[in-house]
């Protein structure tokens, strides 16, 4: 339950050099005693979802009973294709509406709140298919991310004197972020001319312009060339060091193992397992979800075990194929 005793505050004090790892330690320490069960209660959840269900016709794409996201940690959301990860992302950010359920961010109800308000509350997402605004320059993409701009009102837009100063401050902040993400040389280029990996970087940097509390990354590594992967990983870790909470969807298990403090596994719309990365990856339920429950048995063995006659032709080249009756 959220009102459990807070874990020891290893990360709040200490020298500047120690800060780099202390957030990681704090997150790991906070999650140490959390149950390794789906829907486990976290000591300090920033996001809590309850009974969120989304159906597309007869298909139940998402059916999450209960899930909590720990503040200040990097949480990975993994699961096989079609598990409902992106749909769940869309639901909690307001881009899609669930059939049932409710969820809170910092204790505030988010049900029925339009996506732009969700973003203003401090919960900013990126997209699986990167959405950079191609015909805007890189710096304009960045400026767009800043919230509370006076010049975004029509009447004020007419009078440059009113928003010039704020625009300069925004540009300064944008330039700092671009430098951090090594995009400063691309500053004046159209975003459409960037490579796939650079677009991912730009989208992440742009999301940071909103000054979010919770950053939600939908497959940040998809389509990124390996040379950029390390730097992207560094940036994600960096978000935690700056006090942000990160929730990301990813298929790349190396990345998940490397950077996440906690892993939530979804399959067929439901949360099936939770835990620290190494424990989760050894979890039988997770292996079953990815590979099928009988992935290490041949069809003959299964048939034998279930008392059915063995199929006459056994294709030994595909021993990991799950049997048709796999639960």
């Amino acid at each position: 339950m959220p009102d459990d005793a807070m874990p020891d505050e290893t990360g709040t004090s200490g020298s500047a050099t120690a800060v780099v790892t202390s957030r990681k330690q704090a997150a790991v320490a906070a999650l140490k005693d959390v149950d390794r069960e789906p829907g486990a209660a976290k000591p300090d959840p920033v996001l809590i979802a309850d009974g969120v269900v989304r159906r597309f016709g007869g298909l139940t794409a998402v059916n999450v009973n209960h899930v909590e996201i720990q503040r200040g940690a990097i949480t990975a959301l993994i699961g096989p294709n079609g598990a409902g990860k992106t749909t769940f992302f869309n639901l909690i950010t307001g881009f899609d509406k669930p059939d049932e359920g409710e969820w809170t961010f910092n204790g505030q109800q988010l049900k029925g709140i339009p996506p732009f308000k969700v973003a203003r509350m401090g919960m900013v997402r990126t997209f699986q298919l990167t959405k950079v605004l191609s015909k805007l320059t890189v710096i304009e993409n960045m400026r767009l991310g800043a919230t509370g701009q006076l010049g975004e009102r029509m009447w004020a837009g007419l009078i440059p004197g009113l928003w010039r100063k704020q625009e300069r401050e925004i540009t300064e902040r944008a330039d700092e972020l671009l430098a951090r993400f090594k995009l400063d040389t691309k500053r004046g280029d159209f975003a459409g001319s960037l490579s796939g990996g650079q677009r991912k970087l730009l989208e992440m940097a742009r999301a940071l312009m909103v000054e979010p509390e919770l950053v939600m990354l939908d497959e940040p590594m998809a389509g990124v060339n390996p040379a950029l992967t390390q730097s992207l990983l560094g940036h994600v870790k960096d978000l935690r060091e700056q006090g942000m909470t990160v929730l990301f969807v990813e298929h790349d298990m190396d990345m998940v193992r490397d950077i996440s403090d906690w892993v939530i596994v979804m399959a067929q719309g439901a949360v099936i397992a939770e835990g620290p990365p190494l424990e989760v990856m050894a979890d039988q339920r997770v292996i079953d979800a990815y590979l099928g429950a009988h992935h290490d048995q041949s069809l003959a063995e299964i048939a034998e075990a279930e008392g059915i006659d063995a199929p006459e032709i056994i294709d030994e080249s595909t021993p990991t194929t799950p049997p048709p009756e796999a639960p």
Partner: protein
Amino acid sequence: MDWSFIFTSSVSYALGAVTIAYCLAAVGLNMQFGYTGLLNFGQAAFLAAAGYGMAVMVTTFEMSFWVGILVGLLAVVVLAMLLGLPTLRLRADYLAIVTIAAAEVVRLVVRSVKFKDTLGGSDGLQQFANRFYELSPLPSDFRIRFGPFLFPNQEVWVMIVGWSLVAIFSIITFLLVRSPWGRILKGIREDEDAVRSLGKNVYWYKMQALILGALMAGFGGFIIGIFFNAVSPDIYATTLTFAIYTILILGGAARVMGPILGAILFGFLFQFVLTTLNEAVRVGYIGFLDSNDTAPTRLVLVGIGLMLLMIFRPQGILGDRREIALDAR
């Protein structure tokens, strides 16, 4: 062939009131389509709403000219909201479908027999702009001679007001598209979900752009009504909307000067092709056409010209080729 006649006729048309009205409508469409990406195919309806709003107040209800202007603008805003409220939440194509249908609804309603007493049926309404001409500071015998053409006092007054409006709206556009407000519009044009994810109320910005563009077009409706001192339903057919799109794309969408250059060039070419054909037929260069065929032939030739434009210069005259190229990434 009397080339000086052809030339002066074309130039005077290209600077005249009709071109101004088209230009204002194109400046508005530039805000909606050029910068925000709203596929508004009902621009003619906004011109009609403004023109009829003014004409009905002045003629049928015998109110003052200024009440007419006010009601005309109000009608434009109401129409824009009626169209936008249900459709701006949906994908862009829905706005296109709804606006093209709504424009026809507006036209058929104003020309209907049912409302003939109020809206004038297919004959429309006349003689509501006299007050506008009384305001002219020009002496009554003032005129501008241009070759064999004469711009009388009244038309010069319409042109002064009209081009001033074009200038004002272009400056407004210039300021707005360079502001953070305009940045959001351009973002919406690219990908509205991305803009939403950054905390911007996309729906409201689209509504603002639709209304602002519609108001600018509404002034075009005033100009055309005032110039003829009449409104009639069939001016506001869908072809008007397509002419406005042509102007915008010819000049270059999402360019402040695009609609102005486009309107002048379109007006010039439109008149130039017609008078050239007429002259050629008159002198006997083209034997297989007679004077009845020239107007349709002009449309064919202008159409071919536009096809060539779209093939060889899809970004329009002032457009940026690099921006177009990005679509094919």
